[in-house]
């Protein structure tokens, strides 16, 4: 009896010891599912750099770019070829959940990987030109409710993409019906869309706050609402949230990671802790500040459910606008 307990205890201790001690040996790989220069590439490179500075990894963090299908090629690669590689993390964002929700990665869904954590976000905004008759989000949404075709939105993503979805999230929260009838014009990037709004060709702009900084500072763009829980820090402090205007709409474009499914619980715990430590560090705060990222970090264990919920919400919305059958 005594023996048994001791052995069990020793085993448990050894197990927990090894759990405490698990850390990736040698080189760690961060997969950026896009070409160099984009957001995912930035996530990998800056996280890799700070992790090395903080000695969170013993070796180096190597960024590997794997572009294709808006992250689908990297997702398929992780699910099929690297399923038990515990030294691999993959950059992800709202674009990843959007495509998963809309079944744009054929035969794959969000449960096929482990979601590690988020490291900040860029929040959605809805803005109009300085000459627009709309002074706040409620006026704009009242017009949409009265006639869904009366306000035309421009954004930098494809139809059904994140910029389009933010309009729908806000309109739905405001109680608008006939969501599919709200006109949305997709441009190659946020800058192009904004020019059309500033130039008076289109009524409203939907995008992320970091994209609009230039036109906001020049005064050409009036931001009606930011889709965050609280007002943003610093120079964005004057922008009212949708919530404080009585419209409960949230649109964080988060940056984070997932890792392969068949990895050990210890490895997962290690990476979750690493992301937590990184997020709390001053070095990372400096990176966020320099790159227009704003705080967003669901607690350990909550990120997985956050992702599941976001995927579900987007799926529902996509069905409502007829993008998914």
């Amino acid at each position: 009896m005594f023996f048994k307990t001791t052995i069990a205890f020793a085993a448990a201790a050894a197990f927990s010891m090894s759990a405490m001690a698990w850390e990736p040996s040698g080189k760690v790989e961060c997969l950026a599912p896009a070409d160099p220069g984009g957001g995912w590439d930035f996530t990998c490179r800056s996280v890799g750099k700070v992790m090395q500075e903080l000695d969170l990894v013993s070796g180096s963090v190597q960024t590997v770019n794997m572009a294709g299908a808006g992250g689908g090629v990297a997702y398929a690669h992780t699910v099929s070829k690297r399923k038990n590689d515990d030294k691999l993390i993959v950059a992800a964002s709202t674009a990843t959940t959007t495509r998963l929700a809309q079944k744009q990665f054929p035969g794959m869904d969000a449960s096929m990987v482990k979601w590690v954590g988020a490291l900040g976000a860029d929040y959605g905004i809805i803005a109009v030109s300085k000459n627009s008759k709309y002074e706040n989000l409620n006026q704009l949404m009242d017009a949409v409710k009265e006639n869904p075709r009366s306000v035309k939105f421009a954004g930098g993503s494809a139809r059904g993409g994140w910029d389009h979805l933010k309009v729908l999230i806000a309109a739905k929260a405001a109680g608008a019906e006939k969501l599919p009838s709200i006109p949305y014009l997709s441009y190659n990037n946020g800058g192009e869309a904004m020019t059309q709004v500033v130039g008076g060709q289109v009524d409203a702009f939907t995008g992320d706050v970091s994209e609009a900084t230039g036109f906001m500072e020049s005064g050409d763009l009036r931001v009606l609402a930011v889709l965050s829980e609280e007002r943003l820090p610093g120079k964005f402090g004057d922008i009212p949230t949708a919530r404080e205007q009585g419209i409960d709409a949230l649109g964080p474009n988060w940056r984070g990671f997932y890792m392969p499914k068949d990895t050990s619980a210890e490895a997962q715990q290690y990476w979750v802790d690493a992301v937590d430590t990184l997020y709390a560090s001053d070095e990372w705060k400096a990176v966020m500040k320099n790159n227009g990222l704003i705080s967003f970090h669901p607690k350990a264990g909550e990120f997985e459910s956050f992702v599941t919920n976001q995927v579900q919400d987007i799926e529902t919305l996509s069905r409502e606008i007829g993008l998914l059958k």
Binding site: D35, M66, A67, G68, A158, Q196, Q201, V202, G214, L323
Partner: protein, 508 residues
């Protein structure tokens, strides 16, 4: 004055040692590409694109490199025209007429020197025109809505065949091929996948850099392997430089006329550098009348086309930078590069990427000075390089193309795809189907579709919105003219061009 400030900032960008080094390199390689017969400026720039990616150049440096190559190729074309009576590229065709006779008279060195000066003058005039016209046009472009853009792209397609185009049917086939390729991948206005066949790598569409490098560079390699694998050409004797200052001064009016005419021809859609050099040559001939001895080695017969084609080269950048509609094949390739650097050409670029636009313009000015230096004292180097067997150049070009494309996306799939495009390009060129319209279809097709969709959403499905503003009506009219004129005027122009060349000396 505002323009001057921007230009100064541009010089600050272009004059950094790093950028200056690439401008010099580009000018050198460009001249070399230009003087190799068969290798035109569009191919030259396409071959250099992978190099920019291999070296991981920042956007402004990459653009400076490619524009220097472009300018260099325009200079280089004349070298083989004069020495071998074989135009290095199409625009240099007219330079053969008086350049080669000069060389036969033992004045090859003089012809090369004066044509370098004329190239400099033409390019300078063109670039000054670009500096004055581009910001104005860019501001004007801000008033363009989707309907106007749709009409503009229509205009671009209508004038695609150009006045010098040979077979309109083949141009149409090529443009249609380009548009077809561009429909693969996600359609941003509906959010659905088209023609991807479930292949994940195709979901984001086909990268046009891949298509361009494959179509131009790889097919060029195949052609070289087939036709020119043998020995290099024998060295040509240049003769002594006897050009006098008085002679140079006497050609100044010719240089001015050629440069201005060339610039105008370059700005117009569908015309391009070949027409620029042709117009300035014929104008010069008619202005001087009997006073000149054209076709027998008149120095002005070398100056006029060179000033013309270099002026046109700068002029063709105007619609590309301000409206995103390229005026020639080479500017189409440059446009593709800009887009893949995530820079949207058009009015926005002049405000958001001012450092790149003005850096490139300043680099064009600096590049011209560099080219003048390269092309007068160092002309012997190029003449000698002309006799280097291609077998030494080919492996380098092949390696750069593969490494460059691989470094963009780290995907072997892309490499196979590039080879596929290369073989396709080879077959198309064998069938004499032009490649430039494919690139234009690939670049402009999706834009045209997008703008049509946007115009219809904004008007709630009313098609008359497409011709409801004076501007769009104007564009529709020009597009109509562009479609009809070539069939009326084209044959006459082409016959004249042919005759002009027949009158010229045939190589013996």
């Amino acid at each position: 004055m505002e323009t001057l400030g921007f230009l100064m900032d541009g010089f600050a960008v272009a004059l950094t040692p790093y950028n200056l080094m690439f401008a010099l390199f580009g000018a050198f390689v460009g001249t070399l590409i230009g003087c190799l017969p068969g290798l035109g400026p569009a191919n030259g720039v396409a071959i250099l694109i992978p190099l920019a990616f291999t070296l991981g150049l920042p956007p402004e440096t990459a653009m400076i490199l490619l524009t220097s190559v472009y300018a260099g190729a325009m200079y280089g074309g004349r070298i083989s025209s004069i020495l071998l009576n074989i135009p290095g590229d199409e625009p240099a065709m007219m330079t053969c007429l008086d350049g080669y006779p000069m060389a036969k008279k033992g004045r090859a060195a003089d012809a090369l020197a004066i044509s370098a000066i004329a190239s400099f003058a033409g390019s300078l005039i063109g670039t000054l025109g670009l500096i004055m016209l581009a910001p104005v046009l860019a501001r004007f472009a801000l008033t363009f809505g989707p309907a106007e853009y749709f009409a503009l792209f229509l205009l671009a397609f209508a004038t695609l065949g150009g006045i010098t185009g040979k077979n309109p049917m083949k141009t149409v086939i090529a443009a249609a091929l380009g548009i077809m390729i561009s429909t693969v991948g996600i359609d941003i206005s509906t959010g659905t996948q088209r023609y991807t066949g479930g292949v994940l790598e195709l979901y984001e569409g086909i990268d046009f850099i891949l298509a361009i490098v494959g179509l131009f560079a790889i097919s060029e390699l195949l052609f070289f392997v087939e036709a020119r694998m043998g020995k290099g050409r024998s060295k040509v004797n240049m003769g002594k430089l006897t050009l006098t200052f008085k002679e140079i001064v006497s050609t100044i009016p010719t240089q001015l006329r050629g440069g201005v005419l060339g610039f105008i021809a370059g700005v117009l859609p569908g015309a391009g550098a070949s027409l620029g050099s042709f117009i300035s040559y014929t104008l010069e001939k008619s202005v001087l009348g009997k006073k000149g001895r054209f076709g027998e080695g008149d120095i002005r017969g070398v100056v006029a086309p060179e000033a013309g084609n270099n002026g046109a080269a700068s002029g063709a950048l105007v619609p590309m930078l301000t409206l995103g509609v390229p005026g020639s094949g080479t500017t189409a390739v440059l446009l593709a590069m800009l887009i893949s650097l995530n820079i949207t050409p058009g009015p926005l670029m002049f405000t958001q990427n001012a450092d790149i636009v003005w850096g490139v313009i300043a680099a064009l000015l600096i590049g011209n000075v560099l080219l003048l230096i390269l092309n007068i004292p160092m002309i012997g180097v190029f003449v000698r390089l002309l006799s280097v067997p291609p077998m030494y150049l080919l492996p380098i070009v092949t390696m750069v193309a593969f490494v460059g494309i691989y470094s963009i996306s780290h995907s072997t799939f892309d490499l196979y795809f590039m080879i596929l495009f290369g073989v396709g390009g080879y077959v198309l060129r064998k069938l004499e189907i032009p490649l430039v319209p494919i690139i234009l279809g690939l670049l402009l097709g999706p834009e045209m579709e997008k703008n049509l969709g946007h115009a219809l959403i904004l008007s709630d499905g009313d098609w008359t919105t497409l011709w409801s503003s004076p501007l769009s009506i104007g564009l529709w009219l020009v597009a109509g003219l562009g479609l009809v004129l070539p069939t009326l005027v084209g044959p006459i122009l082409r016959r004249r061009m042919r005759n002009a060349i027949k009158e010229g000396p045939v190589s013996d």
